[in-house]
Symmetry: none
Subunit: 206 residues, 4 copies
């Protein structure tokens, strides 16, 4: 019986893929903590417990590594899953839930968010991915709102604006929450946010 060279190659390939993943994950953490520019390849290698030369076996350059990081950890799938739960549910009931889940998702992806916020200028792919996520997310969310308008649950209005209002506010809430938490806790904040958005803050007319 001949040896199976294919099997062996596959095993090596798997190991290599694991290693690649490990390097990406380590880089995500270190980039988020220290920033892309202030992180040296030597540091990355040390953090991953490998020789610096190995970085270049897996990634052509430090820039390409950053690309790999943002591509691999882009939370598009989770965002889609999250937003797919919207459909056929009444707005007042789900907006708070989805808002809080979105906030939580951003929290889980804190490292990535750090990169999105700070490394925009380092490499063009970073804002491109971020823009992709936001646009897609806003778009899906807007579709839901449009449906609800059609159903007469929401009044006719510019849903791009309301979608962005909710999304932007939560994104920046998340951004500032870590750095300098404020009085109102996030959950409570989002509850109020949705209430305000639905009912308005103006006093009921006369």
């Amino acid at each position: 019986m001949k040896p199976e060279p294919h099997r062996r190659a596959t095993w090596r390939d798997e190991k290599a893929e694991e290693r690649r993943q490990q390097l990406i994950d380590t880089a995500l953490q270190v980039f988020a903590r220290k920033g892309f520019d202030k992180t040296s390849v030597r540091e990355l290698a040390a953090a991953a417990g490998v020789a610096q030369g190995l970085m270049y076996h897996y990634f052509k350059s430090k820039d390409k590594l950053l690309e790999a990081v943002v591509e691999r950890h882009s939370f598009m799938p989770q965002l889609k899953t999250l937003l797919s739960t919207l459909h056929d549910e009444p707005a007042p009931k789900v907006l708070k839930v989805v808002g809080k889940q979105f906030f939580e998702l951003l929290g889980q992806k804190e490292s990535l968010m750090n990169i999105f916020f700070h490394e925009t200028q380092s490499h063009p792919i970073v804002p491109r991915i971020w823009r992709g996520i936001m646009n897609e997310g806003i778009s899906l969310f807007q579709n839901y709102l449009d449906e609800r308008v059609k159903l007469g649950e929401l009044r006719p209005h510019n849903t791009d604006v309301s979608a962005r209002t909710l999304a932007y506010t939560i994104v920046l809430l998340r951004g500032t929450a870590t750095a300098f938490p404020h009085r109102t806790r996030a959950d409570e904040f989002i509850s109020h946010l949705v209430d305000n958005t639905l009912s308005g803050i103006a006093a009921p007319a006369g």
Copy 2:
């Protein structure tokens, strides 16, 4: 006959102050365009038309220069002026105006905003100043909203949330507007934003 040392000193002081200001202004532009880390002192000096060594006559280090930049260009005064016009004006009338003015102010301070967004990790003073501006601004804005609630113009609600909703949305709108403009134009967006915020987006109860 010797010249009076005092006169000369004053004249020289003025020149020095001008020069200092010039270096700060140049640095603001270059930092905003290229990022703090990717800008060398040599580049800054060249952009200002002086020798590199001169930078260190005016600023102890590159970091201190960054501090000087964010301190000097902090738009706190303008923000306070802007918000001081709020008082004793009815909300529906002024929110749009103030919102648009705020958006425009952020636009004028685009270079500084770039630094706030991207150089948070470079030096602790950057997020500190940014946080100061935001907190102060939000606080003043919230005070105004509280007044309007007292006057019965707005319904009782968490004004911290509504203040932040408006502020955060406009900030991120500004941030994304330059990089990737979206369908709705800013002015229109802010109009809708204020309308939504005041009246809510829920359909009027039957």
Copy 3:
């Protein structure tokens, strides 16, 4: 039934020898084109279509590979063959032919010549081989000239000098011919060279 180990070994040896030869041939081309130092082992392996590690099965080091290249492609045999045709032929008749053949031989070995010219400092074996070829060639050539002197066909003179004059001129002609061809074509040049050498360029004494 097991295969005879001897047969297998022989077959494998042949394959191995082929592979070795292939690696040497590839290396010759790449070294000549890019230079020894500027060629990485990775590049060599890629050019030969094998993994880098395999290079070290066949050659102990990059230096040893260079040795193998210059040893294998040393054109000593061809040179000897070429010069062996000299004997018993009259000088005026054969010098031009041999000169042109020598020029052509150098042309065929252009890659090797490139290595001889540029990589002298890389590894001591390179100038050693080159010196060997030249000295042996000059020596054989000189022997021929000495014979012709004895036969009275050439006048008594320092044949080391005349041998080197012809050889050096053709070598450098070849070296410069590729890089920057000059007015006189090589064939013609060599004809004139031999004519001059035999008859001298001085005007016949009155």
Copy 4:
């Protein structure tokens, strides 16, 4: 009396020019000894007794330094001076003298010759300068020979070939002399070379 800023600047400029020259001279020696590729900038700086960073104050890159070296040490002027002594002198009398002087000039420029021979591939300016020197030199030499033909001192022949024969032979003689000196000493060699060239090596007819 005002201080003379110009004088001071000039003094600094002089110092800078001296330093520049020193770095070039040091580089010439080290490049010649170790080869361009095998010499690190750190080594160059150490050999010159300065910090490595200073190299980049004076030369934009290692390549530019090599350019500066070959440009500054190109022996074109000396070669022209040497060849200008030819005119109006009879060939038999001066060819040996000029030949030996040329050999000696090459010897004085041994370091530069090493670079010309070995670093052709490193940077395009190296062969360009070498070609310039050779072409100009050959051309001037050929002009002289043409004159002598016109005067009836030399017989009509292809002077490009005879000029190159003498030049090439001496160049390679010089190149091999250092590496592996041979039996005939250079002076003697050149005497024989000129004798052969003038009188030919064929036995006198009849």
